[in-house]
């Protein structure tokens, strides 16, 4: 059962893979979130600056602008620098800590992933007591 606060949270999903965009959007909508979606980093940045979502889920490797570049750009803007980001990546272990320390990246989720687990991460980021980049954070409040 979702609370009123959860239902009003807006989440931006950015991925160039249409199927991933579709499946995550459905999972989050079914959980009561408002979902915005973008097909690449440029479009994602534009939408984030425009809509100021509560959380962003973004793929790492995308055409025109990567997820990392988008996060770096968001971190330079006062209005978007605090937006928590969950980064999805299919690049195995090629993302290093230095890369993800830039911007407000809270979690790195490796593909293939479980939409269920991503939903739990979203809940914990939005409503849990989540220090930055702590994958063990509690999601009891949202559960």
């Amino acid at each position: 059962m979702s609370t009123l606060t959860e239902k009003t949270s807006r989440i931006l999903i950015v991925d160039d893979e249409a199927h991933i965009l579709q499946v995550l959007s459905l999972k989050l909508r079914n959980a009561g979130y408002e979902v915005l979606s973008a097909g690449d980093g440029e479009e994602g940045l534009e939408l984030a600056l425009e809509e100021l979502p509560d959380l962003i889920i973004t793929d790492f490797q995308m055409p025109f602008m990567t997820g990392l570049e988008m996060c770096q750009a968001l971190a330079t803007n006062k209005e978007t620098e605090e937006i928590p980001v969950i980064m999805l990546t299919a690049r195995g272990h090629s993302l290093n800590d230095e890369d993800v320390s830039i911007g407000n990246i809270r979690h790195v989720v490796h593909k293939p992933f479980s939409p269920r687990a991503v939903l739990e991460l979203v809940k914990s980021q939005l409503f849990g007591n989540n220090p930055r980049r702590d994958s063990q954070s509690s999601d009891s409040e949202a559960a």
């Binding site: 199927h19 991933i20 090629s94 992933f113 479980s114 939409p115 269920r116």
Partner: protein, 493 residues
Amino acid sequence: MVSLKLAVALGLVSAATGILLHDPSVLQVWLSGQSVVLRGAVLVVIPSLTFLVMLLSFGVAHDRAITRLSRAIETDSDGGSEIDKIDAPGWLQPVVNVFSTSVKRMAGECRQLRDQLSSVESHKFVVEAQKKQCEAVLHTFRDAVIVTDDADQIIMTNEAAGELFKFNVDEAAYQPFESIILHEKLRRLVRDTRQAGDIGQCRHAQIHIKLPVNTTTSEMTQETNFDVSLTCVGNQSGDVGSVVAVLHDMTHERELSELKTDFVSKASHELRTPLASIRAYIEMLIDGEASDESSRQEFYRVIQDEAERLSRLIDYLLNISRIEAGIVQIEKKEVSINALVDQAVSSISPQASNKGIEISLKLSPEGIRLEGDRDMLHQVILNLVSNAVKYTPESGKVTIVAEKDTLTPSLLVSVIDTGMGISPDEQRRIFDKFYRIDNYKQLAPGTGLGLTLCKHIVETLHHGHIGVESKLGMGAKFWFTIPLRQTNPRIAA
């Protein structure tokens, strides 16, 4: 003649002496009738002549024995056996014995010396051969080799070192190392290695050398990384004799390592992406997130499509790897290009119709036949036609041309579309593994391996060429050629 006269005289004197010795009264009777002078003369001359004859006889015998001994010494070839054979008179035998022993001893010593000389010569030959082999090996090395002696002179080097440090290999021999090599770090490394004196221990270091980017524009340089192996070689007294420095250009290794890392990273991305969709949609179905039958059907379709994409990716990857490793067995038979084009077009027609794309064929009416692997060539044509349809906007046109170039002679197949075109930079990279044009990614899914595989099939397996011509906004033309006489010129003649 002298010896004959001597023999006659000796004979007469011997005869006279014999008569007198036999019966001295004959002499007395004869002398009583002679004058005093004649008697005196006979009495003096006969003993003198007798003595002289005896002396001559002894001299001749002695001379003969000495001559035999000299000849035996001269002709002796195996250490005294000829000397032993001479029939020497008793008085000469001790001398012969001494000679024989000495000659035998000297012969033994000579034999030893001869053996030693032969061994030294054969050893010298082996050493010279080994030196030549070493030099030959050294000169074929791509690695630069410099060997310095205990006086810090270059005692051995090779062409690679000469090219790297710009010196003449022949002129550098026995020149001071530091007058030839100006690279400060390398000088220091050689000095340090000699000073450390760890004989037989190889130490490694990295150095950078500025090299011209290419030979025509020598002004442009770039830092090239070299691995330097340094080894001390001991001399006879166990001290450091020479220092061997071998410089290996690490550019190739670094590029190879980067390629591998890049490949693994890209392959990981491409394999995980369809797998991510499959896993996510299955979980959504399990969790009952699809609200109705239509959504569920849509999920099943996505899972199927992504599983096929994954399967295609794995096939492409394996085929490319096999071709690169040279372990692909292709079956070359006579193939009709018109038939292959027709087959590819009939496979793609449904997608083309959905987008309202017209496929036009310009094939040689008499048909072109060539020796090739049917399935592989079908894959190439299908890939090019499929790409053209995928990336051409609705109501566009795709033209397939198959013609014979009689000059080369070869088959030329072109697939021309009216799509958005490809920039020159993208044209250079389009056959690279996993490369996909950013603008095209959102138009249709792809593996980024199709064109790489086409290139391998055409160029590696059929010795042809593949390429693209395009201008942005003006469509693209992908083409490939396959030689028509590629196996045995005698058959084609």
